[in-house]
Symmetry: D2
């Protein structure tokens, strides 16, 4: 019998995560494709935390490690940046936006955006009621023409509509697709023409970089990104993200007092070294990118097999570590019965079968994938 | 030359924390009495996190460890409780109060309260602008008569004053004193007579319990506390606190949707097991209490020596792990020059000397204390 | 030359209101179909205010007139109600919703709703960041099936989506259509099945009542409305609306401290008699309904003529006092050149011509309408 | 029997306002000294509203009258100003402060300030949780030395304390005293040295001007006031105040989007002409100042008599239209029994008698005062 809490993911149905039934971690821990956050932390991150656990050091970021973050990230991103470690992506996104947008303002984002659908209203809380205005898209990637139209419609509303004061994009997107650099640049260009800064939700930025084969600089400030939510947890941290400001005229006002916003939301760690240690470990030897390249490769291994499967439909390109696939209802049920964990997504009207999401991570092994594929093939 | 960020503590002057000058952890790491949060985590906590780092488990609290928290805390507190792990004390306090008080309401607290002075406005943020109404006290312990007067004055204001909807007390207090159980009970009684729930900021509750020699139950629900901010970080965790609701008619409405408040403030960890592991490790074998008993003992060792020092004045009883002492200006300067780290507090008018705060922790050794005392005596 | 501020209406283009060019009210004051709020107050309302301007009376609602409001509205609505006079519809809507919905919650409404498009983010401000979730509709009237789907999708999101805690409907709708009583009842029924109270934005409720030929009770609590934003300004007041709670188990919690919300948003008048006097004047002899019946009749006079006009398309039924009509671009320009004031609305893609809105009021005369129609016919 | 709602004023006890018992305005309407807002509007204001009630005009401030406000106030204040009519003082104060202070910031004010004690938490609401930090004073007039100390203490708190971003002063003060121009200038000077703009709560500014015999310019921008809450209701309007920005480098950022803040709080009148008409009527022929000079004179008439009364103690100078007087308990009871309305204030400890407040207005007649004085003398 299942005693675990059943948790219903946004837009999805409740799923009992395999391996934790009856409160016990079972041997099914490798059948879990529910999310990249069901994984543990990667060993290098844990080691770094252990090494940080020595001596008295200044609290609230006044420790030696925390004080290297700006320099280290500036090196990795080849630009002057200011880095603020934050424990969750929800908080990183929301804090970043709160520094860009007045309470009476608005943020433009894709209708699939995590900030709009999956963060329990956190952006609205941190922004004191500023509005999220969404634009439709086919696959999570905003269209430049739609952006222009959206900005124009908002401006026509005059004081009756909260003014758009930031554009928030997601890379990789919520549907597992990745913006080409030129497309990202086009969107950022439109925002900047309208004096609007660009925020990038980079919860899975490392997956996008691994896919694009570009540098961190190319996918961010070189295409026009002003503020980045740097994702660490999904690519191997225990719990560590960061808000990264690329220092320029659009971000300078937001930088002022940003630490106060962190403190005021209870996100300033007293023993901050443990947050910094994780981030530094991820950057060491490109661990974040290597972890994500592995996750992407595991996703491709799944996709290649699914493409050959008569009953499977892949509604989106799989470019990162998230696979959305429509499978026959019966097969989905059988996978669940076999102990596999994943989320069911609302299946579009008129489609036969069930849309599910499979997510891989640094922790996913080839044999785990092959076992899943064998189950699907059977 | 000092390159470290200088951080100015509330009500105190800027202090450059010894041992991190020039970005290096020096051998002075044992001369740091600035706070209990300059300490590392205690080994048992780190071990528990390492052990938790195994396998895929449900995220957001759907892991086996997180699901034992309610039962484990209920056992420790000898009552039915609901536990919500939270990474910082600021967030724990603010979330707890936000569930008790409407945005148009108010919280009554002592003028020394951390929520009023040292959290960068976090309670007001989480409570959406509800007000903190403060009462004066001599040593951080609220007086029952002052409480009655404060409640009456508020009620007389009618709709022109935000109504008091929670009483927040701090145990141990910000001045290092500890409420006797009967005094705490008197205050809670008055609150309950007025249909007001009681929140306890227990950032240093373990120090208070160690001082009182009571049970966790006696200092909380048995005296009338309804909601507790359980402090873990200061007594040995890496970063782990908890909001503990004692289930009763006053807390039931606040419990509804409390998880939503956590998510909405970016405080829901995806890999929640690592937060739970820390809390469970602290409760194991009363580690939290043993750590605090040690910290208290180190504080007493300092106090006993200071009492015999002609130039030292102790304005408050030292009952936990915080010592406030007025020392001759020159001695304070010499201690700093010798590499000791501590905060200078605003010295009351008309007093000669400088008020400083010394804080001990589980990590403070007898030899560290003795070296400090020798320096003072010299 | 025009010196007047150009004001751009939501979803529309800037319009220079005829009759106020160069800061002068011209003789074109009767060519203004821009809105029902360009009208003055009706004489009976102004008389009532003059009569109220006598003697010292209690402030903040402690005057004799204000104290009759509950009884008077209860009589008109044939139910026990609690009435709170509020000076603007934006504030009335926002205050009502803020009392129904927690800051972490959400309101479901039609995508055309005024609260979502035209109030500058006021609902989000008063609700402390709670979310407006919108549903598409063809003509501003929500579809019961869409409502069920929307509620289900929200519930599936679990804690990642702010929970729907109120349904807000608009009668007459923003597109000038009116819900039939049974359709309104169906929507309210679904909300109540889901334990969700129903708010009605009744900014033009009087126009709906005049159209339906029903009683105020039938269109509100008898169909399931729990809280009403009673519109007074558009049907003849100077500036007076009201939040009307129908006392029941769904509204009782919201009633608690509602006055505090009013005070806290700066909406409690000290000389409250002048707000109450307006409302009482509107109710006297059904003035609000008579004024609206006249406005509706003037709108029908326009519509009947437009139906016979070859170049005019009417995308919606005109059931209240708002007419949406697509006219040839050239004709629209000629009307403006002739001094007529109205708003241009964004014209749907693929439609030839320009969508404009014409609004009538108690102040619109037959000769004003006929002059307009002659201009259109010419 | 009394059926009227009993309303309890801040810091005072409940008072049943004479003249509205049993829901009837009695002949005791001239015995009401409870507040200046128990008065009606003055006839010139009502006449102006009647004259404004003609023709269709642009809404939301796009009418001819509203568009003269900036020029008219600039003339009266001898400086370039931007004027925003607001219906209540609570909203005017709160909106002004919200434009000066970030949500994570703070406002410094006197402990007696209306914004801190009597507005139901409105400033905190409009400022999204920014904090009011209060300083003690003897008679409502802030001391320059206390201001310096307060600013220093706040700065020392670093990120743990919300930073002071505005100074709010009140003229005339809540205790009926008036700042001398040089004292006001000293306070503003300190604020400006600290890069902090000055807000003036001018709910009774006209009484202060009448007392000082100065110009509106001298008591505002010439002494350093940056933003003024202009009080109209207490000196004769029906319901009309204004936020007046003196255009300078400190106010320019606050001016941006100020209209959006007004709309977002439901304070933008659609028929805005009726708000503007009141303000223009008050300025015409210095009506606001003449009304207040009369109110002040009536207050002096009372004070002069009380000074000769053996049982009366006057704790503060009476410089405006508010008189605070300690009278024998029995006399206070007798006045109430005789139908006089006024508020009882909390009497300071150790004082024998009862502290009451008497307020005069433009509507108070000599014979009303003399009747009261006769009653007291009897």
């Amino acid at each position: 019998m299942t005693t675990g809490r059943r948790f219903s993911y946004a837009c999805g149905q409740a799923v009992t995560v395999a391996g934790i039934e009856d409160g016990l971690v079972t041997d099914e821990i490798r059948k879990n494709f529910a999310s990249d956050n069901v994984s543990p932390a990667c060993p290098a991150v844990m080691d770094a935390m252990m090494r940080a656990n020595e001596g008295c050091v200044g609290s609230y970021g006044n420790d030696a490690m925390s004080q290297t973050l700006n320099a280290r990230f500036s090196e990795v991103f080849e630009a002057e940046v200011r880095v603020f470690p934050i424990v969750t992506g929800t908080a990183a996104n929301s804090l970043a936006l709160s520094a860009l947008v007045a309470p009476y303002g608005a943020v433009l984002c894709d209708q699939s955006a995590h900030i709009s659908n999956d963060e329990g209203g956190a952006p609205e809380f941190f922004m004191h009621g500023a509005k999220l205005v969404t634009l439709p898209s086919a696959d999570g990637r905003m269209n430049p023409e739609a952006l222009r139209t959206g900005l124009r419609a908002n401006a026509q509303g005059g004081i009756l509509k909260p003014p758009i004061q930031a554009l928030s994009l997601t890379q990789a997107t919520e549907w597992g697709t990745v913006y080409a650099l030129k497309d990202l640049a086009a969107l950022c260009g439109i925002a900047h023409e309208n004096d609007i800064p660009v925020h990038l939700d980079g919860s899975r930025l490392s997956n996008a970089i691994a896919h694009l084969g570009c540098t961190p600089a190319e996918v961010t400030w070189k295409t026009g990104v002003d503020v980045l939510s740097f994702g660490g947890t999904k690519c191997g941290a225990m719990a560590a993200e960061a808000v990264v400001f690329f220092v320029n005229d659009r971000t300078r006002p937001a930088l002022k007092d940003f630490e106060r916003r962190i403190k005021r939301s209870g996100h300033l760690w007293s023993k901050a070294r443990f947050l910094s240690a994780q981030l530094l470990a991820l950057l060491e030897d490109d661990l974040w990118l290597k972890n994500s390249a592995h996750a992407n490769a595991m996703a491709q291994r799944i996709v290649e097999s699914l493409r050959r499967h008569a009953g499977a439909q892949l509604p989106f390109e799989t470019q990162g570590n998230e696979i959305f696939v429509i499978l026959p209802d019966r097969l989905v049920g059988e996978l669940e019965a076999a102990g596999y964990a994943f989320y069911r997504w609302p299946t579009p009207e008129g489609v036969s079968g069930t849309l599910i999401r499979l997510v891989t991570s640094f922790y996913t092994r080839e044999e785990d994938v092959d076992a899943l594929l064998a189950e699907i093939a059977a």
